[in-house]
């Protein structure tokens, strides 16, 4: 395969990955790494470098569309970014010392667990939560547009959510992914933030989290321009299409799409870890 054909095929695959990533709040990265490693036989370190770049493109490209809709909550995002960015640096530091296979298996399990939770519990949270002292102090409670007007919500489970966010940052720095699944797990399941708000705020945060480790990966030579170019452009185009679809799809459909994608990814991560491919 020559560079021209390679770029075209990787670009098309990345377009699809970006579309799924934006639709689910996962970010394109979790799809990019298995695609590049299994389909295109790219070395995992180059795959992670390109994935990290695509994660920033997905997040920033889709966030630009989301903020206009009024779903994302910038205070929740910024508050939790103190955990994800520190986690991302810790993750990048751990990456030098720990086996990638062990991390892949653990991450696969986290994905499967979050899929299980998101399918089992289909009740939309928010309106029934009492306001906590912590949520009021950090001004995390907010509102978002629905068909019947603005719907307000309160935020709970802040210590648990904050801890999960640190973990999401560690995984992001470790594997070069956005860890959108863990971010949504933290906000949707632990903090009981409405699904559309948690999905879009997660997407908003992913770029900042990824940027926290991106400099490190660039300096280590993990970012190959010839590979990152079709990945970044493909993911960017896909994520912008995905962001438009999100607004039109109901919460229920979104959850099923989300659950299916993360189950497939979870199995893929565990498989790769067990067979020693990562």
């Amino acid at each position: 395969m020559n560079v021209l054909e390679f770029s075209a095929l990787v670009g098309l695959g990345s377009l699809l990955a970006g579309f799924l990533g934006a639709l689910t709040g996962l970010g394109g990265g979790v799809v990019i790494v298995p695609m590049l490693a299994l389909l295109f036989h790219v070395d995992i370190r180059y795959a992670i470098g390109a994935s990290l770049v695509s994660v920033i493109a997905t997040s920033s490209g889709a966030a630009a569309a989301y903020v206009r809709e009024g779903y994302s909550n910038i205070r929740i995002g910024m508050f939790l970014e103190t955990a994800t960015t520190v986690g991302a640096i810790a993750g990048a530091a751990i990456a030098l010392r720990v086996s990638g296979n062990a991390i892949a298996i653990a991450f696969g399990l986290v994905l499967l667990y979050s899929a299980f939770l998101s399918v089992r519990d289909r009740i939309e949270h928010g309106e029934h939560m009492p306001s906590t002292k912590l949520a009021a102090k950090f001004r995390l409670n907010g509102s978002y547009p629905t068909a019947s007007g603005m719907q307000s919500y309160n935020v709970g489970g802040i210590p648990a959510g904050y801890g999960l966010m640190f973990g999401a940052g560690v995984l992001s720095g470790l594997l070069g992914i956005g860890s959108g699944a863990v971010k949504v797990l933290a906000m949707d399941q632990a903090m009981k933030i409405p699904f559309k708000v948690s999905t879009t705020t997660s997407n908003f945060m992913i770029g900042v989290t990824a940027a926290a480790s991106a400099g490190l990966y660039l300096a280590r030579g993990y970012i190959a321009p010839g590979l990152a170019m079709p990945v970044m452009l493909g993911v960017l185009a896909g994520s912008m299409i995905g962001a438009r679809v999100l607004v039109k799809v109901g919460v229920k459909v979104l959850r099923y799409v989300f659950a299916t994608v993360i189950v497939v990814l979870g199995i893929e991560m565990i498989f790769n870890g067990v067979t020693g491919r990562l």
Binding site: F6, A64, V67, R75, N141, G142, A212, G226, M232
Partner: protein
């Protein structure tokens, strides 16, 4: 019950525009680099199966700028990727200013902390 203030909404709209501008600028530079790169190397064999690590000319800011000024396709792409990485950092910096204008000093502190972590990562790793 708390609803986002008018200021919150305005900040979010400006942040949205900032992110889009950064991403579009990065994409434009990457596309320009891609044209140069593919025109020169399009018919070579794609080899990413073995990790070698990129050379210093593509891993440092000065090396990337030097290469881009000499119209090296790969360096121009890498410059676009640097702009992309800088976009969320710019977003955080802008948020700090916006929270200050709102007199929300708790969030100014939170945002500056995030900015400090990002700058440490980006500059400390070189």
């Amino acid at each position: 019950m708390t609803t986002p203030s008018w200021n919150d909404l305005r900040i979010e709209i400006i942040i949205g525009a900032l992110l889009r501008t950064g991403v579009m600028l990065a994409a434009a530079v990457v596309i320009f680099g891609a044209v140069v790169y593919l025109a020169r190397h399009g018919h070579q064999v794609a080899t990413y199966g073995v990790f070698r690590g990129e050379s210093e000319s593509l891993t440092t800011v000065s090396g990337i700028i030097h290469g881009a000024l000499h119209m090296r396709g790969s360096a121009i792409i890498q410059l676009g990727l640097l702009i992309l990485i800088a976009t969320p950092v710019a977003r955080v910096a802008f948020s700090a200013v916006a929270f200050a204008l709102e007199h929300d000093y708790l969030y100014v502190a939170i945002t500056l902390f995030v900015l400090g972590v990002l700058l440490y990562s980006l500059l400390g790793s070189h």
